[in-house]
Amino acid sequence: MEYLIANFGAILFYLVAVLAVAGAVGVVTLRSPVHAALALLETFIMVAVLFVLRHAEFLAAVQVLVYAGGIMVLYLFVIMLVRVKNLRPEDAFLSGIAPLAVLGGVLLGALLALGILLGTMAAGAGAGALTAVGEETVGNTEAVGWLLYTKYLVPFEVVSVVLLVAMIGAIVFGRRDAALTGSGEGVEL
């Protein structure tokens, strides 16, 4: 029992990590898109738990609200909207290149793991600056907000332009009389 209490952080990490990887495997292997979406939801929430463990409470909240709330609803909406009559569940994978792709993923993973093993990293340095504005100790949300609207104000504005462009692009693609309708010839805007 004392062992459990002393190593609570580590046990929680391994539990959550295993669940996150299980969800990720589900995303890649489950044949039904709805099942894959639910596995992805599980991974999102587990990653949010890991954010809390690393003192990023604001980002954990953003992760749950934006990913698990917004993006997941968007995915499920499109899955339900689209009639996939000629995509049977047994055709979920590209048959020809699947072994090669898995091999490539494993090789890349081995290469990156080698990099991790060769690099030396000590334990965490503590989390003083993650909850501080100047010399004052505040919450993580306030610290992130302070930094975001002072030092990183210009990138923040640029990212808002990216969102605007994405919105316009989505509207253009979604228009019924857009260039993508028709039989493929006579493309016009």
């Binding site: 991974t43 693609f173 309708t181 493929g184």
Partner: protein, 101 residues
């Protein structure tokens, strides 16, 4: 037993490679986009781990930007899916070969 940044980077590596394999092997456009989300999440996990390790908030701010770009990517990608379904009545990526002909 102390969890270091190495543990987080290793987990992030596993998630990233799984997402990469998913992008390559999936036929359904929607699940390919989901695997892409998996890769974004792995990157965010890395940023957060190093933000804690180096005691620097810049990693968390960068993760916010990554989430924003991911949201933009989903909006565009799902718009593309709707357009593709309207054009070819399919979400299978190997049937989206209009530009090849």
């Amino acid at each position: 037993m102390i969890i270091t940044a190495t543990h987080y980077v290793a987990l992030s590596l596993i998630l990233f490679c799984l997402g990469l394999v998913g992008v390559m092997v999936r036929r359904n456009f929607i699940t390919v986009l989901m695997s892409l989300e998996l890769m974004f999440n792995a990157v965010n996990l890395n940023l957060i781990a190093f933000s804690y390790r180096l005691d620097d908030l810049a990693g968390q701010v960068l993760a916010i930007f990554v989430i924003t770009v991911a949201a933009a990517e989903v909006a565009i990608g799902l718009g593309l899916i709707i357009a593709l379904v309207r054009l070819k009545d399919t979400v299978a990526l190997d049937e989206a070969d209009v530009m090849r002909s």
